[in-house]
Assembly symmetry: C2
Homo-oligomer: 461 residues x 2
């Protein structure tokens, strides 16, 4: 079906009704032929048991984390009701972008930016807050990079009456004051990380007084606070299996919407930080690859400054900087890797989760790395043609989609591209201002820096 | 139908499909028994003719401005196609807010904040840019207060390939740098007003070097630039009849959605600056009042610092500070009124449009004025219960809705309230930060200041 046919149909958005919000999350671990390697207890180096996770996570979430048997996990009614605040989200045919690229490709995006908090993060925030509340937990902690996760969790915590402390990566705390204020408007306590409020923070500040923080460090602080506070648990916005699980509502909706559009994607693209929006869009489609029903290409778009999937090593590594978390089998740049201060704060993370890492090993997905300037060029073109200013993170997916669309043009044949617009960038305008003024750099990771980090990593494990 | 029934139905949002986007705008002027008084040519003091407006506006818009005969005006296909970027917008039952207020009232809001530019302004921006393009105009100018209109028009101008210059009220230019960057991302030129680029701006800067600007001044500058630039026209985001006309898609959609909800509003509420979102939601419902079909109450919520409808006088006055526009029959505080620097920049305007002013005179609508602190208290409660951080402008409508809901509780009987959420406040977080820190004031207009302004007004006319 050509562009013109679509225009005649007058359809741009493919919209579902509230009743179409999925009833269950999709647990890809249950269907993977090669299961991900187990996480290891950092003390014993033995595989983690569910009970090992109880001090850190709500029990239900610990159970979901290790569940490799149930393919479908029912979404609690309370969570599904709250999804109705903004879900289902639209699937959009990007006619404007296609026209600007003069490409035969059909470009679709799943628009998760319509969440009132501006990103996909609410899908898991509401679920995690719900299970904590249900188990009588009163306080939760978390970390946030760009602030998308922290903003979402702040609303979720308020909704379920939980007290929340957020460690926000220091560079973002200053770069993105609006997101900090959003969290505070929802009643959360926000602390710039590294901070003096934890041992992990104090150690880093002593060793590196000017350190501007990383997700790894903020996780260390949040975990430490959770372990040392009564009736408190830690929550995480990415990387872990249960977070990926909650995000699968994205792909499950998109699957139905591509059916409405009468097409099936040849290429699926999502930006990649810890993997939450990527897993959310892609796992339900990779299921068709596992079953042999479809053979689409699945592409993670990561920043060239933090390229764990394209250039990292598959290793057991810690999820945080201080080594407080279980050891995770992951493609990693090393847990002490200090990512450059790119504006896509949500992509500044050293490793990929265990499921994604296994899928990558098994050739079920690809990855590309995108320089910062290319991402903002793509973001600006997208804004001008589709009207939505994308989050700097999502801009990486757009850049990868544009590469695909250009290639389709060169080859002179169509292809169906679906990417995830994980969030909008209305609170990241400082980044756009700097881009328009020519003040941004790429910060691509050099070979020397990469080698240094990987050498250190091998010494650790 | 009780709350509980709705919860059982599991419906929170009432969603339309793209095919339900209205085919025509509703022109209330054609159905008003008492027509609004004519606008006057400032030179001749005679009623404005359509041709008098051609140097300022596109001809089609000038025609719409004075059209008092056609009740329905067809929406051009190109505009309707672009409405599909985000329309239809949801109608939402605010269960969370109802619960927090423990009120028997049913509270609904029309969620115009889902526009990618964050407000209802795009409804008219796309229409105005379309007509300008169609008539071969290459350059357009405008003013913007908080930046919502400027942001919307920047995207619209880019979409239709028009060059755009925006005069942004100086206080907002500095308070809201993100909105400035949004306009620049879409390729618009943004100038802080008052500026040295126009006679009107230079005069004000000479007389009041520290003046922080107002919508009235910015309009003077934008009109002057349009009149002195070849193939250029001025566009306006509010006040005028053709802007109100384009915004009626809001109320026309809401009408269908209230039918889906099985209720009819007892009270309709929208915040009021120049009248664009108010007219958009309310005119299609006032039509039921004019026809005698329904007897709902219609309430404009204006800031207590700029209360033209509650405390202003009905007079002929200029739309701008320098007196370049036609003279409009309006409830006004005087075109040289300097509104306090409240954060609801979009409500800092001295007058109401001619249709709204006539409706007010005829008792077809009411108005209330809301102090700034009450508006932010209401906004914070709304955010915490509904997940959406509202624009400071929209917060005035929320505050008025909360007053109604509390009154319903006192009286112990239900009432159906519908308000317009004209935009989100994600780019206004500085205001929330100051509110949370206790740094905001009310700036209610004093009787003495009001009298001074109205006395000056009577000398002018």
């Amino acid at each position: 079906m050509s562009n013109q046919d679509y225009n005649k149909m007058g359809t741009k958005k493919f919209l579902l009704q509230e009743k179409d919000i999925p009833m269950a999350w999709y647990n890809i671990a249950a269907e993977m032929k090669n299961k991900p390697l187990p996480m290891l207890n950092p003390a014993t180096k033995k595989p983690i048991k569910e009970e090992d996770l109880y001090p850190i996570f709500a029990k239900a979430l610990a159970h979901q984390e290790l569940n490799q048997t149930d393919t479908w996990i029912e979404i609690p009614e309370e969570v599904r009701d709250l999804y109705k605040v903004w879900r289902p989200t639209p699937l959009v045919r990007a006619f404007g972008l296609e026209k600007a690229l003069d490409t035969p490709a059909h470009i679709y995006f799943k628009n998760e930016s319509v969440s009132p908090l501006g990103s996909h993060k609410l899908n898991s925030a509401l679920a995690q807050a719900y299970y904590c509340k249900k188990e009588g937990i009163t306080n939760i902690t978390t970390e946030t990079g760009a602030g998308q996760w922290g903003a979402a969790l702040s609303y979720a915590a308020k909704t379920f009456g939980l007290e929340l402390a957020v460690y926000m990566v220091k560079v973002s705390y200053h770069q993105k004051p609006y997101r900090r204020s959003i969290m505070q408007t929802f009643g959360a306590q926000v602390i710039a990380s590294p901070s003096m409020s934890t041992k992990a923070g104090r150690k880093i500040l002593t060793d590196h007084p000017t350190y501007q923080g990383s997700l790894g460090t903020a996780i260390s602080e949040a975990v430490e606070l959770a372990l040392s506070t009564p009736n408190c648990r830690y929550t995480l916005g990415s990387v872990l299996n249960h977070v990926a699980l909650h995000q699968t509502v994205i792909g499950l909706e998109a699957e139905k919407q591509m059916e409405m559009a009468g097409e099936y994607p040849d290429v699926l693209i999502a930006c990649f930080g810890g993997g939450s929006n990527f897993s959310g869009l892609c796992f339900p489609f990779i299921r068709h690859k596992i079953s042999g029903e479809h053979n689409l290409r699945v592409v993670a778009a990561e920043p060239a400054s933090c390229p764990k999937l394209t250039r990292g090593e598959f290793q057991y590594d810690y999820g945080d900087e201080a080594g407080l978390t279980p050891m995770i089998p992951m493609f990693t740049l090393g847990h002490s890797f200090e990512p450059a201060h790119i504006h896509a704060g949500g992509l500044r993370y050293h490793g990929a989760g265990s499921i994604v890492s296994q899928l990558r090993k098994d050739g079920l997905m690809d990855a590309v790395d995108i320089p910062q300037l290319e991402s903002f060029g793509a973001a600006t073109l997208f804004a001008q043609t589709e009207g939505i200013i994308p989050a700097p993170e999502s801009a990486h997916a757009i850049a990868a989609a544009i590469r695909e669309a250009k290639q389709a043009k060169e080859e002179g044949r169509s292809r169906v591209i679906l990417f995830n617009l994980s969030g909008h960038g209305l609170i990241d305008m400082t980044a756009y201002e700097q881009y328009l003024a020519g003040d941004l750099s790429n910060y691509n990771l050099s070979d020397a820096e990469l080698k240094k980090n990987l050498d250190e990593l091998e010494q650790i494990i």
